[in-house]
Structure formats: structure tokens, C-alpha cells
Symmetry: C2
């Protein structure tokens, strides 16, 4: 069972069905392995043999994995379905540990395919191997620079483990994380879940030192009890966010016809998620918003939230969101008074702290530093409405510098409303692991998700 | 009163307080007027006289507007507050029609400033002039290529009129519209509303042939009755979206301390908005999402919505959103059967129509065309999850082509989930006035906003 590790940290990888022809999946996976910088050994296997060149690197093509002269820990299988059983058998003989099976044409086609899957798993287990899939687009683990997918290449490293049941949506989300600067530790396409399933992934990421939070796109689970028990245990350690469509009656029906999973059971999922500490996101955007905060930030040591803003309007918007989400805005005026040092006389140090439209680099620097330093201020939301006084990119630098200097001990979220410079500032912050959003409410709701998870844990500890 | 027109379609503009020095507001406004391509005459006025050069164009600087040899329809005032009364008087003598007063230092400082404002308005009205502001960042009207603001230059032309009470947030939103490809007909900073207010803007845009919808960021209204009566009348013709922060108790308190407006009256606003057909958006993102659809699309001729998708998952998400928003998914299978022509046998023509992950350009082209052609399908949501089969940018081209060929008679919204190519496709669609979003729910909710407005109108017509 420990072989799951070989999915993420294999010392060597073979691509069975490797190809030198652009457009082929066996080419795309080789290319991603090479170009994303995987440092272990890569072997090309294809019944055709010969030699191929990919991204300037030449590979001898072994006709069988049994011909590879060294140890192979992971074998990515992309051969047509009918050849997969034999290939799995050979992998077993070779001593491979983990088998992501990209090939489709199994359980998703019906009962017969399911039986073939079962046989594959039986063979694999006989040799102690674990199967991921079949019917997947692959696996990514950024700490080992492993990109064994046929999706985009340049996944941004970070602390979120992303697991997708849907292949199509999974690849689309992979692109989304790159576009939106969501840093990933891992990306796993679990497809038909013939062997490894969501619960196994939770098991692994629970103890993965590179993962801070887990986000699952789920269409259904096979073994609900196993999943929920695992989720409940893992939630005590790391936050789990789940997107599961099919909330409405018609949505559930559509889901049933799409996945063959049981319709009408959505309320059961909801209740079970809640009990297990799982945060259920209703949209993709919400899920990634929360994930930015949950994967990167420490928990708050108390309930006192401080909002710093240069715009009255966005301060009010953030306050509305905070109240609706049940966040507590710190209101000890004696302590908040410290912010009066960083604003003109017509500013307001009542929380939300309005540094006014005149707030410049110095004002934000001072206010952010004071908020980070005060032990009674447990979480901070920095809001900025783009003005001519302070370039948003400079604000980003200030927040990054102050947060790093403070030792990153409390949660801080940022919202910057504005144009292209604001977007750049948001990207820089996100790349540095400081969750930043283009709207105040999204920052506040993400902070609230962190509090919800924390509070659930506390409720279980008593 | 007809002089409001001169704010948007002036035949000539003077900048009083024009400057040749970068960094000055009087420079930024001249520069935007020139670089955005305003084709009327531009005059520079500054007590210092002389000559200035901006963006390669030389301007004689008149010491007073009275020295300008031609007619001036609009004068943008950027001189310090203490000189404004005299300048307004001179503008009156000159026969100017519209006066955006950028200068601050009036009513926002307190009672004394308010009195000065009142005197300014009295002077203006004596000469038949209308004042916008003071304490504003200016005005944009894209059909006349007029950008008389000190905000960003390249506003994207479109059909949304955007009105902001907050200057700081207004400029930030101006940048946002550029970044997010929201096309504007007009952008108005109304500041202190000493003369022209939100209701006057509604009056104007009601009959403006270039405006399809109006979006107002509001902190409070002075004359609630006037505003609501106007909004109710205008809503019968064009949709109005309002963002008004201060929903929660603490938010309302923060708003009160920020704007001096009455706290606790939020539920009254909500009720009045509803009665007036105004769509209240809770966040900036939601407001612009709706605005894309409401400003660009015709109303649906009936309730039947059809969802086309290549991904089961996003189809289910969209269905959930549709049900929650009260949209009706067309379910006449006899008619929906036409989509079977554009999918493999394992697709589903039940609504949401699942063209499957194999859907290519031909499949989408056929399905979109059939949906547009069928008179029983009243509104269409096209969803696409980025795959290797079809470049999202090609999908965008298909939708643009088919929609234009159909005569744009029914509403169509698009959602594309994916990476950088998806983002580019979304931008292209939005630039062409076809509302496109990166998430299925946002497309569906925007379509629902269009239906809400339509249904409100219908309820008033009986």
C-alpha cells in the first residue's frame, strides 16, 4: 500500500506507449515529463521499438518494460485498452510500484469494461502495485517536478492538492490554476477509480509535507462510509474542499444520466460533508478562492479580524460580507487607535480601518506592520482600491515584505480593485502564497472558510 | 435642462486649469481627451497663459475661458476650489452648457463647503448650465470618443452606462472594465451631486441610443422619492443594476461614518429597488456579470432555456444554478432530438444537452445554429470545458459567426472553463458583445438577471 508514494515520488518513470509523434498522448506525456523538469530517469516503451527524439532528448524505445535495464517505480500506460492487461502483468513482473493508466475503454463503457478493470486490479495487487485510473489524464507532483499528464506543462508549484474525477474538467482546471496563479502540490486525475480512490488520495495527502489543503472535484463516491470516515480524520489535520455538482433535482438527474451515480442523494452528501468538516464549494471559483487561503495560511489564534482599506466603499462591502459570514470585526478602540498614526485626520481607525484615498506606501506599510505585530489582532484583510497615490504592485511588495518579516504567523488576505496593474499585483501576491482577490467579498469569504474549518476542528476537540 | 446632452456630446471642450506638466490633473485630462480621440475642438485655459504641448499637439493657453475665440459647450474645471466660483461665472458668460467640476474641497468637507456648492449651482442655473460634481474624476462617452477624466485612457466602447458616486472606486472600476472587457457607452463620476444626480443620469440614459443598461455604484441618495420614481420609469425601458454597500448592521454603520448618509435604512433601499425593477447586485463582480448580459442582449421571447455543453460536470453545475435561479430548462424531447445530429451515440440530447468531450467545431457549430434557429428555444447557454479537440478561440469564432448570422434575436451566454486560451476566447466574445464567463454558474446567473428584469416589466404591464 505504501506504493502510493511512487505515484508522486517515483525514482524512475516509464511511459508505455511512448511516441515521438506530436499529437499522440504518448508524446505529450513524454514531453511534459521532460519539459517540466522531472529529474528521475525516464524510459520510453513501445512495441515498435527504435529511437525517438522529444524536446531535444533522444530515447531508446524498449519493446517491453521487461527490457528496461534498470528499476522502474512508476509506469504510465497509454496503450490501447486491449493491450493493457498484458502490460499490467509485465509491469508486475518488472516490479513497478505505481500504474497510472491513461487508456480509456474500461468501466466507463459498462459492465464488461468494469470486469476488465477488476481483473487489472487483481493482477496489480498480486504484485503489490497500485493503479490510478484507468481513463485519466495523469498525475502531477510539483515538488519532484513530475508532470505525467497530457495537459498543460507549466503547473505553478504551491500547496494545494487537486483531485478530479472528471478528466475533461480536470484538464480545464489545470489550465485555470496556471492562469489564475493557484499553486499546486499535486494534481491527480482519478478517473474510474478502479483501485485508488478519493479516500486513498486523502490518506496520502494527510501526511504529505508539501500539501496544505485538498480540493476534490467529485461526481460521486463508491464507498461513502470509507470516504467520509477518512475525510473526517484528515479534516482534523488539513482542510478539504469539495465541489460536487447535482444539488438541484434536475441537476441531480442530469448527473445521474452523466455518471450513472445515484440521483436524489445530494442532501445526504451535504450532511455527510458537514459532519466530516469538509467545506462544500458551490462553484469552481469559490472552491479555488477558498483553496488559496486554506492551502497557504496558518489558522488564526482568535476571532479578531481587522480590515484595512483606502476606500470607504470597499470597506463597507467587506464589512457586509464579514457580518454575513459570521466573522468578528475587532472593535477595541484603544488598540485600534494605533492606526491613527497612518492616516490623515479625516480617516477612521474604527474597524474597518479607513486609511482614506490618500493612503500611500508609508501608510499601508505602517498599518500592515502594526496589525501583524498586535497579538490581539488575529486575522487581517488588506483592501486596496487602485488610486494614483500608490501603485498596486508596490502595495503587493509591501504586504509580501511585511508578512515575511512577521514570520507568517497569522492569516492575511488581500483584495485589490482596479485595472491591469491591480491584476499584476494580485498575481504576484498569489505567486508568493498570499491569497489575493480582485474583490473585497471574495477575500473575506475565503478568510471565513478558514475560520469555518478551524471552528469545526475546535468543535470536535471538546 | 437639455444641456445635460453637452456632457456627452459636446461640440467643443475647454479644460480650465489645463497643464503641460505630467502628474497634474489638468494634464491628465487634456491627454485623455487627445489620446482617446475626441474629435471636437479642445481648448486649454489656465491663468498662466502661454503655450503647452501634450501628446505631440500644441495648444495656445487662454488666460480665461472668455478669451476663447469660439463657442465652448463643455468646460472641465480643475482649478483649486477657491477659484471655482469665478470660473463658473465666466463659463456662464461664455455660454458654456455643461460643467464637470473635478475640483474637490466643497460639500465633502462639511456645511460651509455645501453652501459654496449651492452658490455654484445657483450661478450655473442662472446661465442655464448644468454642473456635474464637484469632487469627481470626470466623464467618458465612448460614441463621441470623449474621455474627460484623469483615469485610464482606453475605455472599451460598448453599451453599458456606468455611474459612480465614489471617485476612488469609480477610477478603479474604470480600470476593471478595461481589464475585464466590459464595453461602456458612458462613465460618469457624480461625486457630490450638487446639481446633476443619479436620477438625472437615468433620465439621460433612458433615451440614449448608445446605452443598453445602466450600472450605478451608490453610497446613498438625497432625494429618494425622485430617484425611485425615475428608476421605476426607466426600468420599463432599460435595465438598471445598483451596487449599494451597507447591507449589514455594521456595514451600514461604517457607511454612515464614511458618507454621512443615514444608517439602518438599507431594508428600505432594498424594498424600493425591488419595486422599481432595479436589480441589486451584492458584489462588483456580480454587477458586471449581469451588466454584460443586460447591456448587450435582447430579451427572450419565452421561458425555454437550452444548455449546450461538452462536459457533463459543467452541464450539471449550470443546471443547479438554473434551478436555483428559477430558469426553465426546455424539455420537449421531440424538439431537443435535433441535437442528436451533433453528438456521438453516448451523448445526451436531454437538456442540458451533452455533446460529450468529443464535441468539435462541427458539433458546436451545428448545435448552436439549430438552437438559434428553433423558435421554441428562447435563450441559449453555451458551455465549454477546454479540451484538445477544439481550441476555445475557435469556439468563440463559431459562436460569434452563428449569432451574427442569426440576427441576434435571442439571448445567448457563454461559459468557457480552461486556461489562457479560454481566457482569450472569453475576451474576444465579450469584445463582440456576447457575454462570456469563466464559470458556468456566472453565465446562468447573468441570464437569470435578464429574465428577472423581463419578468418585472411584464408584471407591471398587466
Amino acid at each position: 500500500m505504501d506504493n502510493v508514494k511512487a505515484l508522486f515520488k517515483p525514482r524512475s518513470v516509464a511511459v508505455i506507449g511512448a511516441s515521438g509523434k506530436p499529437g499522440k498522448i504518448g508524446y505529450a506525456i513524454m514531453k511534459n515529463l521532460i519539459e517540466y523538469g522531472y529529474e528521475g530517469k525516464i524510459y520510453a516503451v513501445n512495441i515498435k521499438g527504435g529511437e525517438i527524439e522529444i524536446s531535444g532528448r533522444k530515447f531508446q524505445v524498449y519493446k517491453s518494460i521487461l527490457d528496461v535495464p534498470d528499476e522502474v517505480e512508476m509506469a504510465v500506460i497509454v496503450v490501447p485498452a486491449k493491450f493493457v492487461p498484458q502490460v499490467v502483468e509485465e509491469c508486475g513482473k518488472k516490479g513497478v510500484k505505481a500504474l497510472p493508466i491513461i487508456s480509456s475503454g474500461f468501466g466507463e463503457l459498462g459492465e464488461e469494461g468494469k470486469k476488465v478493470e477488476e481483473a487489472l486490479v487483481e493482477t496489480a495487487h498480486k504484485y503489490g502495485m497500485r493503479i490510478l485510473g484507468p481513463n485519466i489524464f495523469g498525475v502531477v507532483y510539483t515538488p519532484t517536478r513530475l508532470n505525467a499528464t497530457f495537459g498543460p506543462t507549466d503547473v505553478l508549484p504551491g500547496k494545494l492538492a487537486l483531485v478530479s474525477q472528471s478528466g475533461a474538467l480536470g484538464i480545464a482546471l489545470m489550465g485555470w490554476t496556471i492562469l489564475e496563479k493557484v499553486g499546486l502540490s499535486a494534481l491527480v486525475s482519478i478517473g474510474n477509480k478502479s483501485d485508488l480512490d478519493d479516500a486513498d488520495m486523502l490518506d496520502y495527502f494527510e501526511n504529505d509535507e508539501n500539501t496544505g489543503a485538498i480540493l476534490i472535484y467529485m461526481e460521486g463516491v463508491k464507498d461513502g462510509r470509507k470516504f467520509m470516515e477518512t475525510a473526517r480524520r484528515v479534516s482534523m489535520k488539513k482542510p478539504i474542499i469539495i465541489i460536487k455538482a447535482g444539488r438541484s433535482e434536475r441537476g441531480a438527474k442530469a448527473a445521474a444520466s452523466h455518471t450513472g451515480s445515484l440521483a436524489g442523494a445530494d442532501s445526504i452528501y451535504s450532511a455527510a460533508f458537514k459532519q466530516s468538516g469538509v467545506l462544500r464549494a458551490l462553484t469552481i471559483g469559490e472552491a479555488f478562492d477558498w483553496a488559496r487561503t486554506l492551502s497557504n495560511l496558518p489558522e488564526a489564534e482568535g476571532k479578531n479580524v481587522v480590515i484595512l482599506t483606502n476606500g470607504g466603499g470597499i470597506g463597507v462591502m467587506a464589512t457586509d460580507a464579514a457580518e454575513e459570514e459570521g466573522l468578528y470585526l475587532y472593535d477595541n478602540l484603544e488598540e485600534l487607535k494605533v492606526f491613527a498614526n497612518h492616516m490623515p485626520p479625516f480617516g477612521s481607525y474604527k474597524n474597518p480601518v479607513d486609511l482614506t484615498g490618500m493612503a500611500d506606501a508609508k501608510a499601508y506599510e505602517g498599518a500592515v506592520r502594526d496589525a501583524l505585530a498586535n497579538p490581539n489582532m488575529h486575522a487581517i484583510a488588506v483592501l486596496y482600491c487602485q488610486t494614483a497615490v500608490l501603485d498596486p504592485r508596490d502595495l503587493a511588495d509591501i504586504v509580501i515584505r511585511e508578512y515575511e518579516a512577521s514570520g507568517k504567523k497569522k492569516p492575511i488576505v488581500v483584495a485589490i480593485v482596479g485595472g491591469i496593474e491591480a491584476k499584476e499585483a494580485i498575481d504576484v501576491l498569489n505567486e508568493k502564497g498570499i491569497p489575493a482577490y480582485p474583490e473585497p467579498e471574495r477575500a473575506i469569504k475565503s478568510l471565513a472558510a478558514l475560520y469555518k474549518w478551524s471552528n469545526w476542528k475546535k468543535s470536535k476537540r471538546v
